[in-house]
Symmetry: C2
Subunit: 304 residues, 2 copies
Amino acid sequence: MTPTRPCGVWAPAVTPFRRDLSPDTERFARHARWLLANGCSGLAAFGTNSEANSLTAEERMALLEFLVANGVPPHSLMPGTGACAFPDTVRLTAHAVALGCAGVLMLPPFYYKGVSDEGLFRSFSEVIERVGDARLRVYLYHIPPVAQVSITLPLVERLLKRYPRTVAGLKDSSGDWNNTKAMLDAFAGAGFDVFAGSEAFLLANMRHGGVGCISAMANVNPAAIHRVFECWRAPDADSMQEAITATRAVVQKYPVIPALKAIVARGLSDDEWATVRPPLVDLTGAQRESLAADLDAHGFKLAA
Amino acid sequence: MTPTRPCGVWAPAVTPFRRDLSPDTERFARHARWLLANGCSGLAAFGTNSEANSLTAEERMALLEFLVANGVPPHSLMPGTGACAFPDTVRLTAHAVALGCAGVLMLPPFYYKGVSDEGLFRSFSEVIERVGDARLRVYLYHIPPVAQVSITLPLVERLLKRYPRTVAGLKDSSGDWNNTKAMLDAFAGAGFDVFAGSEAFLLANMRHGGVGCISAMANVNPAAIHRVFECWRAPDADSMQEAITATRAVVQKYPVIPALKAIVARGLSDDEWATVRPPLVDLTGAQRESLAADLDAHGFKLAA
């Protein structure tokens, strides 16, 4: 993996499907290249917004290989690899390392609830030991509203102590700034890189020692989010932050993943892009019209 | 699949691992045969208590094939096949049908939370249509405390209407008898077979039109649970029910899956049996001694 540590705005790239629900590699690579050309420093492919857990391990690996073979530099990739079964996590992680990815974003095993920090430590440890590659950089993925299994501060501390080179950072999608701030206060000084899981906290994250954000909205609003990252020390940073937060609020009135895909579909005049895999449901025609009207009223336009 | 519909006591068989955490096919087949010889009508392999979601799809298929090749009749198997990604569910389900299994126990996709009945209907429908086999019998797996995604009555109604032959029943692990009773009241008359997810509700389930139970404790206490099933109309059924509920209460003071494995390990004087995969954690030595003492005081003994 590259010695340059990931920072900036990383997109949990949405995964396009054909109408028959098969992954669409061509549309995926085009979207990836567009994101990198429009302000994203990299792609956290196979995140929650990518419907990663609705894909098989084989589908994920094939998509990742296609990106790398089609103009996406591996050092701009941080694929999600955390599965419920550790051998799947090992396989996906080793595959990402072999491709030269900058790091991996690792969910905890999320089927069992109320598991102990000891059990989660063993899970991550098993994966790191079995991958056994000095190039591996693990970014822990804390998203309790969805995974319902948390990455706590004591767990991070223990993992950092045991694997100081490998455990590189965390994405905090708790939606709780106090938790992000606690992670920053405890670990940012030790070279542990914290990404906000929402661009709504991007400026606050930068001001407290974070390194950027990995946020759903980077799929459709990457340039404006990137400007906040780039200019966070500028006097007008607060107003730029307000603007991206306001755009986010428009989209959040709808189911977010189907809405992101509907926005891409509209921007590209390509209806098939709106397809989601179950259990998600695509927006209704009425929802898509309403979302489009809301975004028009807000003055939002997808970059060409 | 066999025309005889599953009923009675089915064990969500615990999955043995070697100390290196690899699945132990030999111990698994021995445990399966012991369960069938001691009161279980069948095995709901790869349930929650089987650590199914800590296994890869390939590991599950290999274990299932080993059972069938080693004396476990396919008509006594109802493997869990529900995964987050529907193509995995399709693959596991088609594999079980091809082996001649009595049915499959299907979790809903469990990563996304707050999904709609429409999204879950599409998930199950996609699987049923793609497997496309008249022999398929689906038992829906409702376990909201773990999956955090529910199988609601309106969803069952819609699935039964669309797939009356294929959607055969449900395991209710909600722990809420009112929910089980509502399922029985609504659908048992239509040939929809409800299994209680705990033997604590076995007698109540039988009295209200259910067909049996699929319960963790069947791994260690199958004979006594079977007697309640067999004799549910007998005058002393209530006292038999009280006895199995009391045994359950002893075990439930401990983390259940590690406790079940510790009981098997002790009964067989085979320490390796106690191994669990992370994120679960095996009982400490002190916990194992305490559990053994509690069971001895209770007069419980694993059948030879």
